[in-house]
Amino acid sequence: MADEILQQPEPLDLLEHSDLSLLETLDHVLARGIVIAGEITISVADVDLIFMGLNVLLTSTETAREVLNRRADALAAGESKGDD
Protein backbone atom coordinates (compact mmCIF):
# COMPACT_ATOMS: atom_id res chain seq x y z
CA MET A 1 0.00 0.00 0.00
CA ALA A 2 2.71 2.46 1.00
CA ASP A 3 4.71 1.68 -2.12
CA GLU A 4 1.72 2.15 -4.25
CA ILE A 5 1.08 5.55 -2.77
CA LEU A 6 4.67 6.65 -3.14
CA GLN A 7 4.47 5.97 -6.83
CA GLN A 8 1.67 8.42 -7.23
CA PRO A 9 2.65 12.05 -7.65
CA GLU A 10 0.99 14.32 -5.16
CA PRO A 11 -1.02 17.18 -6.63
CA LEU A 12 1.31 19.61 -4.89
CA ASP A 13 4.22 18.36 -6.97
CA LEU A 14 2.19 19.09 -9.98
CA LEU A 15 1.11 22.50 -8.85
CA GLU A 16 4.47 23.76 -7.69
CA HIS A 17 5.50 24.01 -11.28
CA SER A 18 2.20 25.15 -12.52
CA ASP A 19 1.17 28.31 -14.19
CA LEU A 20 -2.18 29.96 -14.56
CA SER A 21 -3.01 28.22 -17.79
CA LEU A 22 -2.35 24.77 -16.33
CA LEU A 23 -4.47 25.61 -13.31
CA GLU A 24 -7.34 26.67 -15.55
CA THR A 25 -6.95 23.44 -17.50
CA LEU A 26 -7.01 21.46 -14.26
CA ASP A 27 -10.14 23.27 -13.21
CA HIS A 28 -11.81 22.16 -16.40
CA VAL A 29 -10.61 18.62 -16.92
CA LEU A 30 -10.60 17.52 -13.28
CA ALA A 31 -13.74 19.15 -12.04
CA ARG A 32 -16.03 18.93 -15.05
CA GLY A 33 -16.88 16.62 -17.90
CA ILE A 34 -18.97 13.49 -18.33
CA VAL A 35 -18.76 11.10 -15.44
CA ILE A 36 -19.74 7.49 -15.90
CA ALA A 37 -20.98 6.38 -12.50
CA GLY A 38 -18.56 4.05 -10.82
CA GLU A 39 -15.70 4.77 -13.17
CA ILE A 40 -14.41 7.89 -11.53
CA THR A 41 -14.57 7.62 -7.82
CA ILE A 42 -13.78 11.18 -6.87
CA SER A 43 -17.07 12.46 -7.99
CA VAL A 44 -19.04 9.39 -7.03
CA ALA A 45 -22.39 10.06 -8.55
CA ASP A 46 -24.09 8.36 -5.62
CA VAL A 47 -22.59 10.82 -3.19
CA ASP A 48 -23.77 13.69 -5.33
CA LEU A 49 -27.22 12.23 -5.16
CA ILE A 50 -27.08 11.71 -1.41
CA PHE A 51 -26.06 15.29 -0.93
CA MET A 52 -28.62 16.62 -3.29
CA GLY A 53 -31.16 14.71 -1.27
CA LEU A 54 -29.70 16.12 1.91
CA ASN A 55 -29.86 19.62 0.55
CA VAL A 56 -33.50 19.22 -0.27
CA LEU A 57 -34.12 17.80 3.16
CA LEU A 58 -32.37 20.66 4.93
CA THR A 59 -34.20 23.22 2.87
CA SER A 60 -37.51 21.69 3.64
CA THR A 61 -36.65 21.41 7.33
CA GLU A 62 -35.82 25.07 7.40
CA THR A 63 -39.02 25.95 5.59
CA ALA A 64 -41.00 23.81 7.97
CA ARG A 65 -39.38 25.56 10.89
CA GLU A 66 -40.18 28.95 9.43
CA VAL A 67 -43.79 27.97 9.16
CA LEU A 68 -43.73 26.80 12.77
CA ASN A 69 -42.01 30.00 13.85
CA ARG A 70 -44.58 32.09 12.08
CA ARG A 71 -47.34 30.17 13.72
CA ALA A 72 -45.69 30.60 17.10
CA ASP A 73 -45.32 34.32 16.45
CA ALA A 74 -48.93 34.58 15.43
CA LEU A 75 -49.99 32.76 18.57
CA ALA A 76 -47.80 34.98 20.72
CA ALA A 77 -49.23 38.07 19.09
CA GLY A 78 -52.75 36.77 19.55
CA GLU A 79 -52.25 36.29 23.26
CA SER A 80 -51.76 39.23 25.55
CA LYS A 81 -48.18 38.19 26.24
CA GLY A 82 -46.01 35.59 24.56
CA ASP A 83 -43.49 33.65 26.58
CA ASP A 84 -41.53 30.43 26.38
Binding site: M1, L15, D27
Partner: protein, 121 residues
Protein backbone atom coordinates in the same frame (compact mmCIF):
# COMPACT_ATOMS: atom_id res chain seq x y z
CA UNK B 1 -12.05 28.07 -36.10
CA UNK B 2 -11.33 26.46 -39.43
CA UNK B 3 -10.53 22.79 -39.48
CA UNK B 4 -7.12 22.22 -40.97
CA UNK B 5 -7.28 19.05 -43.01
CA UNK B 6 -3.72 17.86 -42.47
CA UNK B 7 -2.31 18.36 -39.03
CA UNK B 8 -4.85 18.54 -36.25
CA UNK B 9 -4.19 21.85 -34.56
CA UNK B 10 -5.49 21.82 -31.02
CA UNK B 11 -7.34 24.92 -29.98
CA UNK B 12 -5.15 26.29 -27.26
CA UNK B 13 -7.47 27.99 -24.79
CA UNK B 14 -6.38 31.53 -24.04
CA UNK B 15 -6.20 32.62 -20.45
CA UNK B 16 -6.29 36.32 -19.75
CA UNK B 17 -6.16 38.37 -16.57
CA UNK B 18 -4.48 41.46 -15.19
CA UNK B 19 -4.25 39.82 -11.77
CA UNK B 20 -2.50 36.53 -12.39
CA UNK B 21 -0.98 36.12 -8.94
CA UNK B 22 -4.32 36.40 -7.17
CA UNK B 23 -5.98 33.90 -9.46
CA UNK B 24 -3.09 31.47 -9.19
CA UNK B 25 -3.52 31.57 -5.44
CA UNK B 26 -7.27 30.98 -5.63
CA UNK B 27 -7.07 28.28 -8.28
CA UNK B 28 -4.38 26.50 -6.31
CA UNK B 29 -6.71 26.43 -3.37
CA UNK B 30 -9.30 24.79 -5.59
CA UNK B 31 -6.80 22.35 -7.06
CA UNK B 32 -5.47 21.37 -3.65
CA UNK B 33 -8.77 19.70 -2.92
CA UNK B 34 -8.50 17.60 -6.06
CA UNK B 35 -7.24 14.07 -5.63
CA UNK B 36 -3.69 13.00 -6.49
CA UNK B 37 -4.98 10.06 -8.46
CA UNK B 38 -8.24 9.10 -9.93
CA UNK B 39 -8.88 5.76 -8.39
CA UNK B 40 -10.41 4.22 -5.36
CA UNK B 41 -8.39 2.54 -2.63
CA UNK B 42 -8.91 1.77 1.01
CA UNK B 43 -6.94 4.74 2.27
CA UNK B 44 -8.65 7.39 0.20
CA UNK B 45 -12.00 5.91 1.13
CA UNK B 46 -11.15 6.24 4.80
CA UNK B 47 -9.99 9.83 4.38
CA UNK B 48 -13.00 10.59 2.28
CA UNK B 49 -15.27 9.15 4.93
CA UNK B 50 -13.74 11.25 7.72
CA UNK B 51 -14.12 14.30 5.53
CA UNK B 52 -17.69 13.44 4.71
CA UNK B 53 -18.68 12.90 8.33
CA UNK B 54 -16.91 16.02 9.59
CA UNK B 55 -18.45 18.07 6.82
CA UNK B 56 -21.89 16.99 7.93
CA UNK B 57 -21.12 17.77 11.56
CA UNK B 58 -19.79 21.16 10.52
CA UNK B 59 -22.93 21.86 8.54
CA UNK B 60 -25.14 21.01 11.49
CA UNK B 61 -22.93 23.03 13.84
CA UNK B 62 -23.32 26.09 11.64
CA UNK B 63 -27.06 25.60 11.43
CA UNK B 64 -27.16 25.41 15.23
CA UNK B 65 -25.19 28.65 15.50
CA UNK B 66 -27.50 30.39 13.11
CA UNK B 67 -30.52 29.15 14.94
CA UNK B 68 -29.04 30.25 18.28
CA UNK B 69 -28.39 33.74 16.91
CA UNK B 70 -31.90 33.87 15.55
CA UNK B 71 -33.34 32.91 18.93
CA UNK B 72 -31.16 35.51 20.65
CA UNK B 73 -32.38 38.15 18.22
CA UNK B 74 -35.95 37.07 18.78
CA UNK B 75 -35.50 38.23 22.36
CA UNK B 76 -37.24 35.19 23.83
CA UNK B 77 -34.17 34.05 25.75
CA UNK B 78 -33.06 35.24 29.14
CA UNK B 79 -29.47 36.54 29.44
CA UNK B 80 -28.60 33.35 31.34
CA UNK B 81 -29.95 31.20 28.54
CA UNK B 82 -28.01 33.21 25.97
CA UNK B 83 -24.83 32.79 27.96
CA UNK B 84 -25.35 29.04 28.35
CA UNK B 85 -26.16 28.57 24.71
CA UNK B 86 -23.11 30.58 23.73
CA UNK B 87 -20.83 28.55 25.98
CA UNK B 88 -22.16 25.27 24.62
CA UNK B 89 -21.61 26.37 21.02
CA UNK B 90 -18.18 27.69 21.90
CA UNK B 91 -17.21 24.28 23.26
CA UNK B 92 -18.62 22.64 20.18
CA UNK B 93 -16.48 24.87 17.99
CA UNK B 94 -13.40 24.01 20.04
CA UNK B 95 -14.14 20.29 19.77
CA UNK B 96 -14.57 20.63 16.04
CA UNK B 97 -11.17 22.33 15.71
CA UNK B 98 -9.63 19.37 17.56
CA UNK B 99 -11.27 16.85 15.26
CA UNK B 100 -10.20 18.74 12.17
CA UNK B 101 -6.61 18.83 13.40
CA UNK B 102 -6.75 15.13 14.22
CA UNK B 103 -7.75 14.21 10.68
CA UNK B 104 -5.47 16.79 9.12
CA UNK B 105 -8.32 18.66 7.56
CA UNK B 106 -8.38 22.39 6.95
CA UNK B 107 -11.37 24.67 7.12
CA UNK B 108 -11.87 24.65 3.36
CA UNK B 109 -11.72 20.84 3.23
CA UNK B 110 -14.99 20.70 5.09
CA UNK B 111 -17.08 21.54 2.15
CA UNK B 112 -18.47 19.55 -0.67
CA UNK B 113 -18.93 20.53 -4.22
CA UNK B 114 -22.43 19.40 -5.02
CA UNK B 115 -22.10 20.04 -8.71
CA UNK B 116 -25.32 21.58 -9.93
CA UNK B 117 -26.50 22.39 -6.43
CA UNK B 118 -23.43 24.44 -5.59
CA UNK B 119 -21.33 24.07 -2.49
CA UNK B 120 -22.63 22.62 0.71
CA UNK B 121 -21.47 25.31 3.12
Amino acid sequence: MKPSPDSPSPVEPEVETAHAAEFIEELRRVSDTLPPRINIDAQSVEQGLAKLVLTLIELIRRLLEKQAVRRMEGGGLSPEQVEELGLALMKLEGKMQELKAQFGLAEEDLNLDLGPVGRLI
